[in-house]
Amino acid sequence: MSETATDLKRTPLYESHLKLSAKMVPFAGWEMPVLYNGANQGLIAEHTATRTAAGLFDVSHMGEIRVKGPEAIEALNYLTCNNISRLVDGQAQYGAILNEEAGVIDDIIVYRFSADNFLICVNASNAAADYQWLSAKNKHDVVITNESSDWGQIAIQGPKAIEITEKYFKHNLSDIKPFRFKDLEYEGSSVLVARTGYTGEDGFEIFMPARFAKQIWDGLLSVGADFGIKPCGLGARDTLRLEAAMPLHGHELGPQISAVDCGLERYIALDKPEFIGKQALMAHKQSKNRKKLVGFELKEAGISRADDKVFADEELLGKVTSGTKTPTINKAIGLALISCSNPETDYPAGQRIFVEIRGRKVSAEIVSIPFYKRKKS
């Protein structure tokens, strides 16, 4: 570890984590909880609590970038790959910021407050770079501001998440549809409650002025205690998102991989007139040198990890982008980026591949993703 404790940033919840016996680790320039120590805590307990009751996640390290002005829609349509015009007030949308080669600079969620006021939530590791890129590439009448230090962010996820959040804020929130958000009045200010998440469970991601983060965190834990809520670290966050087959920038997504090759097709609006990466995307779609993101399950004992090579018999196909044995699925699973000519038809579920683990080829089977789907309530 090259960073010292003093170089790392701390969220408003740092002290809260210490009080909860968190094991703190450096992540994207921040000192974050990877798990919490103690009875009934730890990665497996935290992951399981999120699937059966509720998990509480400090995501204040994520970045927030504001785009405001009369050409906000045009600006975002140019700078990102999804169709911003489809959004209505109070709606959120997953998408990505692409470079000219259609590589992914970051995956994002865009929140529309009004036609001239948008907030983009970006990954902690890319916040500064995203803001630089957007500012440099913008050619529309908007003001782009990096609001990351103004915001705290907490995610509450799981079957009991909505109930707990309603109880804490004393407000009906179940009328917020998926990928919609509400601006709630809170202590003379407001908090944004969005029905989004990174776990495959129902729940909210809550944005608040940084000074309110601690009391909201403590409050949700307190109100949620009877429901079985647990604070969850980055370890559980990763196993949960993997089971839901949600990509992680730096693993499934990155500037070197074309957005059409890593599972983002659904979020790319190729019929938009002009946007950064469009030309490259059109060219990549015509190519026979494509890639495809697949989910797999090991069929022999072992666990595969990111960067393990993937083979079809002797032919090197690609590599694992994320892999581990996860608590709910309870099998060694992973995502892999593999070469193919036609992503629609090549390497369907059921096909056998090999993953090289510490020099040994281990048999695996491609499975459809997500690995986990929550029951409809």
């Binding site: 730890g42 497996i44 370890g235 004992a301 072992g302 666990i303 990890r305 581990t324 044995k325």
Partner: protein
């Protein structure tokens, strides 16, 4: 958790329990210490050596895996693996719950009595840990 007084220990946080000895060759049982299991976190998989495999002191002979990472366990002695803990296939967490007893990894025979000399006593390992 108290360190078993009759075990020997290594700087890599493995323990050795002598099971039988003769003048020429010794059989030992090995595992990792409570400190090691605590550092690793909850284990979800243990990749044990094959019975009959020759192992060499200081070289990796087993891999223990948590959700987050795979870690080598270094052979504390040289010899031949004569049995492995089958329980770990279904319950790798035994290493976390009972690192000195139920979570043993393997038994090794034909260990030269000499290779046991440089190992630490419980007291020495205790001191080594407090220096961390």
């Amino acid at each position: 958790m108290g360190l078993p007084a009759n075990y020997k220990y290594t700087k890599e946080h493995e323990w050795i329990e002598v099971k039988s000895d003769s003048a020429s060759a010794v059989t030992v049982r090995v595992g990792i210490t409570d400190f090691a299991q605590s550092e690793l976190g909850e284990l979800v998989f243990v990749d044990l050596p094959k019975v009959g495999a020759s192992i060499e002191s200081g070289k990796s002979f087993c891999v223990v895996e948590s959700t987050k990472a795979a870690s080598d366990v270094y052979a504390p002695v040289s010899g031949v693996v004569c049995s492995v803990n089958q329980e770990l296939a279904n319950a790798p967490q035994l290493v976390n719950e009972s690192p000195y007893e139920k979570g043993w990894l393997a038994e090794v025979e034909q260990v030269s009595p000499d290779s046991l000399k440089d190992l630490m006593t419980a007291e020495q390992y205790e001191k080594f840990l407090s220096g961390k």
